[in-house]
């Protein structure tokens, strides 16, 4: 759980979440003003993915940057081409498993491949990519699947929360597709796509909210009750 012990980490978490809260809604707003919101499943909307990719990459640079000069130097030296290659291959594998998984859980099999592919790329970008950029392939997998004996810092905590909420958002988004409202956005994969984005966004908002609450709790101990409640909720998962 988040702790107040490491103020630096906490600040990073807050700022990166705030950044997400700003850039993601702006992308969606711009797209919907252009009238392209209902074409997010097409290949033509690839630029959204590129934008998100760049934003996440910048965020991960910020998160990994360290004030400690020594650590910075040692880390800077350690980045290798093979690491990047490995991460890339791993991302491709994840993309493919998302693709297959989404199909297994009900996406059209014989057509709409393009749409499904876009959705799975978005999911990969929002779930696995930030984790890998932060802590490498092996560690990120173990953190994602709840290896509690690993040392988890606040940043990892946030990233794992983000990915879980993204999957939940996409999953819940699928609910509206079969309903008989006859709206244009009940097309595969728009609800899932937007659901994933809103899940991710919601998770970031919650992070900011939690940090604010925790800071407030230092002044007003009454709020501790809510913080504890939020913490226990999370531990159930």
């Amino acid at each position: 759980m988040f702790s107040l012990k490491n103020q630096l980490e906490l600040r990073k978490v807050t700022i990166s979440s705030l950044l997400t809260c700003i850039y993601l809604p702006s992308i969606v707003t711009v797209v919907s003003f252009k009238g392209l919101l209902y074409s997010v499943g097409n290949g033509s909307s690839f630029y959204i993915l590129v934008l998100i990719f760049l934003a996440e990459l910048l965020k991960s640079f910020y998160l990994n940057a360290s004030n400690d000069i020594q650590a910075k130097r040692s880390k800077g030296n350690r980045i290798k081409v093979s690491d990047i290659l490995r991460s890339f291959i791993f991302l491709l594998v994840t993309l493919f498993s998302f693709f297959i998984g989404i199909m297994l859980f009900g996406a059209p099999i014989l057509d709409c491949h393009e749409e499904t592919l876009m959705l799975s790329s978005l999911m990969t970008l929002l779930t696995v990519f930030p984790l890998i950029a932060h802590s490498g392939v092996e560690a990120s997998m173990q953190q994602l699947f709840g290896m509690k004996n690993y040392g988890r810092d606040s940043i990892t905590e946030m990233l794992v929360n983000n990915s879980i909420m993204t999957v939940c958002g996409a999953w819940i988004g699928a609910v509206v597709i079969p309903l008989d409202w006859n709206t244009p956005w009940q097309q595969w994969p728009i609800p899932c796509y937007l659901g994933a984005i809103s899940g991710y966004l919601l998770s970031n908002v919650l992070t900011v909210f939690k940090v604010i609450l925790m800071s407030a709790a230092q002044k007003y101990p009454v709020i501790n009750f809510i913080v504890n409640f939020l913490n226990t909720r999370h531990h159930v998962k």
């Binding site: 297994l104 859980f105 009900g106 173990q142 699947f145 290896m147 079969p178 309903l179 008989d180």
Partner: protein, 1027 residues
């Protein structure tokens, strides 16, 4: 009360009471008093009016008439104008024809957009039949139909009661029909000449109408005496409705179609003018049309339909120009009957169309009298104002007949019309009247029973020790209990009686008849009993710590089950219930998948980090092995479910989409269909053979029996040409004989099993030398005697009775599972056969994955109770999911009638219903049987009984909860537009599901009873032989 609470079958009996409550609810919702089936005769015409004699036949008689009823499907009121139908508009303008506003019934079944392959023809036919039913029924019998009429006529949609066509035929009139063949199916054998067109292709809107119009020239042409060849002609045009469904009411194609209809009207009218006898043309729509597609049905555009009446010769419409007076659809029946000089159909509640009433005052009044007297006979309360009005009118009419006073005639006419209007309204409304008091009582009963069952279930979920200790405290004398029971019973009865009188209800429930007083008393008893049981259960429920062991999947299962019943507050969630289940089931599969992955990664990680830990704990290693094996299986299972989900499109909205079953049933793909059939059958056979290991397979007799049964099924398939084979002989066999042989094999297998249990074949088995290690059904003395043997010799059994009981229960449960699987694959459609082994595989794999010990790193915890809960819920889910995979839905259209006649020569209501029920509920049945067979593999008899008790409780509480909540939903939406289409069929489905649950639990109770009985038998015999 304690003993009631602890009895294993209390929940079963409570469930039976809940079924009683549900029946009371259904009684209130669909009262069954309706169509008495009275047939009308000419002799029924009254010959005395208040003592004054009148010649009924003479006055009633009309001139010779030919009536043409032209029904244009989807004709709405604003279509009959100069713009769309110029000729008709002209007729209306010069008063040669009258127009009325007729209010149609809301559509019963919304017509789907079917671009359908062959297989969906049947479904479409059903929808269409039910859709037309009400309109045609209303027009031809003159009475409003009810849901019960449709539901009870299931499978044989012919109208049994009286109708215009029957009275016309009895008077020797010739009826001719051209148009949709629904008419032929509704009134078989009453047509002198007909040509029914079958049209399920909505895209076809020219051919259907040409098929009707092409007969017109011939049939309208008069014979040499200038008389037409028919007396009553029905024309049904569908094209307009098809256009409306395809393109909406604003389509450019509407106008040409209406012009075509107008041309038909012109043709008929000109032909009528040439005849030497009177002709009457009635043009009407059966329902309107909305402007655009989508749901709806209550808008004026859909409900208001025109009714145009044109007569030759010499007809002047008495009504002023304008929209015309309002009439009802039921008014067509008496009008046509009178025009044909036939008596008014027995159950008609309608009136004559005002323009038809003759100008002759005597006949006019007599007709009004006949109608009023007819309506008054049909159970109008004699103390009502309109009945008195009728009597006053009658005396005025008599006065007129006696004296000829015009004023009396005028008064009589007014009085008759007033009372007729009120009586018609009363009788029509009575048909759709609900017995709210009975419904309320039924809901209360269901609600009470659900709460009681919930309390019992919670009580049963306690760990055993706590339950035992809590029993000691409350020891009340039975006499005291009895007195308490009586007192509460009296209080309940008093409350019921008071509520009866306070609400001033007219319900039968409060009529205190001999039959109903029994129901009344039973209700009071049930309420009292459930109160006592719930009270005792709450008092004794103290330790629910087991519920702390829930993991996230248990929460999902419980939440999903609870939520699903609440989702019915939305109509589309009823129509698309399968979507809810698919979503819940997918979520569960995702959770299990994630957990399996987590466990695998966790163990692999542990192996890498702390190798010593793994080496030290062999069970951890075993767990890991098991999990890694589970992962690919689970992924394959998900893929299998993905495939099965595409097999049958169901529900309402997406029904028209092509599915795998359509593809398989296409003639060019028959090889794949046969592959499905063979694979499904062989997999089932393998599973059955695998289950045989729990039975006494002496000399492999069971293997032989099972294979014989499977061969029967294959022969049946070959015989019905679902499967090709090199053996041509089989084609010539009688399918009924094959199926009978199949039943014979099953019965023989059961008898054989019981015989081996008794020990008849003991000698044989020794001779063959296959002395199996699990020589299960032989009574042994236990080797080690207990220390306290002497203290309690009666209770402590020196024989291993319990073991034998358990193995018998185990073997019979598995036998039952095998039977259900084999019977279901016999009944299933060829493409659905694959479902049966899939249910079994899903059940086995899921119950392994849901084991609480899988993830639990702390060993030695007792998770049996939580395991039971999750197992039962997940089997219920699997059953539901497969119910929908198979193509069922919550509409009557999806019931497969074909399966009811497998292996039957003639219709037999009980057998057909049983087959249809087992076919529809095949998925839930196999899942349930698998669950009970799985329970029977418990290590000890005592544990088996405990698990069984909890399982029965959970089954009962789930069923009652669903039914109680759904009843509340139905009451809530009783005036909803879709109450017939959506809510009522689901109520029937729930009823059938309850009956089947009771049946399943009863057969489990029978198995336990059988074990007790045989054990008692063996004990007495053995004691005797020892003596």
């Amino acid at each position: 009360m304690q003993s009631w609470l602890q009895n294993r079958w209390t929940s079963l009996s409570l469930l039976i009471m809940a079924l009683g409550g549900l029946m009371l609810f259904l009684y209130g919702f669909f009262p069954l008093k309706y169509h008495s089936g009275t047939l009308a005769h000419m002799d029924d015409l009254p010959n005395f009016i208040d003592g004054i004699s009148i010649d009924g036949h003479e006055v009633y008689k009309t001139e010779e008439n030919s009536v043409i009823l032209m029904v244009i499907d989807g004709l709405r009121y604003d279509f009959v104008t100069d713009e769309y139908m110029p000729y008709t508009g002209q007729l209306l303008k010069n008063k040669s024809a009258c127009i009325y506003v007729s209010v149609a019934e809301p559509p019963t079944v919304t017509m789907p957009r079917i671009k359908s392959p062959q297989r969906k023809k049947e479904k479409a036919q059903w929808r269409r039949t039910i859709n037309f039913w009400r309109d045609i029924f209303a027009m031809m019998t003159g009475s409003v139909s009810t849901f019960a009429d449709v539901a009870l006529n299931f499978g044989a949609p012919a109208v049994r009661g009286d109708s215009v066509l029957r009275v016309a035929a009895s008077r020797g009139r010739r009826s001719v029909m051209y148009g949709d063949d629904t008419w032929l199916r509704l009134f078989p054998g009453l047509w002198a000449e007909y040509d029914g067109t079958t049209s399920f292709y909505v895209t076809d809107y020219t051919e259907v109408d040409n098929n009707v119009t092409r007969h017109l020239d011939k049939v309208l042409a008069p014979d040499e005496k200038m008389k037409p060849s028919f007396d009553f002609l029905v024309l049904h045009y569908l094209g307009l409705d098809h256009i409306g469904h395809l393109e909406g009411a604003r389509s450019p194609m509407i106008k040409p179609k209406l012009l075509e209809m107008d041309a038909v009207v012109k043709k008929i009218y000109t032909a009528m003018q040439k005849w030497d006898r009177a002709g009457t043309l009635i043009v009407c729509g059966d329902h309107g049309m909305r402007d655009a597609g989508g749901h709806g049905g209550a808008s004026p555009a859909e409900l208001l339909v025109p009714l145009v009446l044109a007569r030759t010769p010499l007809f002047q419409c008495p009504h002023p120009a304008g929209p015309g007076p309002t009439v009802a659809q039921v008014d067509v029946a008496p009008s046509v009957a009178w025009l044909l000089n036939a008596p008014i159909p027995g159950e008609s509640v309608g009136r004559l169309l005002p323009a038809l009433l003759p100008s002759d005052l005597r006949q006019h009044l007599y007709l009004l009298h006949v109608l009023a007297a007819h309506n008054a006979r049909q159970g109008v309360p004699t103390d009502a104002e309109y009945y008195k009005q009728f009597q006053r009118a009658q005396s005025q009419f008599a006065h007129y007949l006696a004296t000829g006073q015009q004023s009396a005639a005028k008064i009589a006419k007014d009085f008759y019309e007033e009372s007729l209007e009120a009586m018609s309204k009363y009788l029509s409304e009575q048909m759709v009247d609900l017995d709210m008091f009975a419904i309320g009582i039924a809901v209360v009963i269901l609600y009470f029973i659900a709460i009681t069952l919930f309390c019992i279930t919670l009580y049963s979920l306690q760990p055993e020790q706590t339950r035992k200790t809590s029993t000691g405290h409350h020891r009340k004398s039975s006499a005291g209990l009895f007195v308490a029971f009586i007192i509460v019973l009296i209080i309940c009865t008093i409350i019921l009686v008071i509520s009866c009188f306070i609400t001033e209800t007219k319900s039968q429930f409060c009529s205190f008849n001999s039959a109903w007083i029994l129901v009344f008393a039973l209700t009071a008893c049930v309420l009292t009993m459930s109160y006592f049981i719930a009270k005792t259960a709450i008092e004794n429920t103290k330790n629910l710590t087991t519920l702390n062991d829930f993991n996230i999947m248990d929460y999902l299962l419980i939440f999903g089950t609870v939520f699903h019943s609440w989702s019915f507050f939305g109509t589309s969630f009823i129509e698309e219930e399968h979507m809810t289940w698919y979503f819940l089931w997918n979520t569960l599969m995702l959770f299990i998948l994630l957990r399996t992955v987590v466990v695998v990664i966790m163990y692999v990680g542990k192996m890498f980090i702390g190798a010593t830990e793994v080496q030290e704990k062999p069970e951890l290693y075993k767990k890991m092995d098991f999990n890694i094996g589970l992962l690919p299986k689970w992924v394959l299972l998900i893929a299998l479910h993905r495939y099965l989900r595409t097999m049958n499109q169901t529900g309402d909205r997406w029904l028209f989409l092509p599915d795998t079953a359509d593809w398989l049933n296409a003639p060019e793909n028959s090889i794949y269909l046969q592959a499905h059939l063979v694979i499904g059958t062989i997999l089932t056979l393998t599973i059955c053979l695998w289950n045989i290991r729990y039975m006494n397979n002496v000399m492999h007799m069971h293997t032989a029996f099972t294979i014989a049964a499977a061969v029967c099924i294959l022969c049946y398939r070959i015989n019905t040409k679902a499967l090709g084979s090199p053996f041509d002989d089989i084609q010539s066999w009688d399918p009924v004989t094959i199926v009978n042989f199949f039943w014979g094999v099953l019965i023989a297998q059961f008898v054989f099993e019981i015989l081996t249990y008794i020990g008849t074949f003991k000698i044989c088995s020794i001779h063959t030398g296959t002395s199996r290690a699990n020589n299960k059904f032989i009574y042994n003395k236990p080797k080690a005697k207990r220390e306290d043997y002497f203290y309690d010799p009666l209770v402590e059994e020196p024989w291993n009775l319990d073991e034998v009981k358990l193995s018998l229960a185990r073997s019979v449960s598995h036998l039952m599972l095998n039977y259900i699987m084999l019977i279901v694959i016999l009944l299933m459609r060829p493409h659905n056969v694959i479902m049966v082994p899939s249910v079994f595989i899903t059940c086995m794999l899921t119950s392994k994955c849901l084991d609480h010990k899988l993830l639990d790193t702390r060993p030695g915890r007792n998770t049996d109770i939580v395991d039971t809960l999750s197992q039962v819920l997940v089997h219920l889910w699997i059953g539901q999911v497969f119910f929908f995979y198979q193509g069922n839905s919550n509409s009557l259209a999806s019931v497969d009638l074909g399966s009811g006649y497998v292996g039957l020569r003639e219709y037999c209501a009980v057998r057909v219903a049983l087959r249809m029920g087992l076919h529809a509920y095949g998925g839930p049945a196999v899942a349930g049987a698998t669950l009970f067979a799985h329970i029977a593999t418990a290590p000890s008899w005592h544990q088996y009984l405990q698990t069984l008790w909890r399982t029965v409780n959970i089954f009962a509480v789930h069923r009652t909860y669903a039914v109680a909540l759904y009843c509340i939903v139905t009451v809530f939406f009783r005036h909803h537009l879709f109450v017939w289409t959506v809510f009522s069929p689901k109520l029937l489905y729930d009823f059938v599901a309850t009956v089947f649950t009771i049946q399943a639990l009863t057969s489990i109770a029978q198995i336990v009873g059988l074990t007790h009985f045989t054990s008692w038998l063996a004990k007495t015999l053995t004691y005797k032989s020892r003596l």
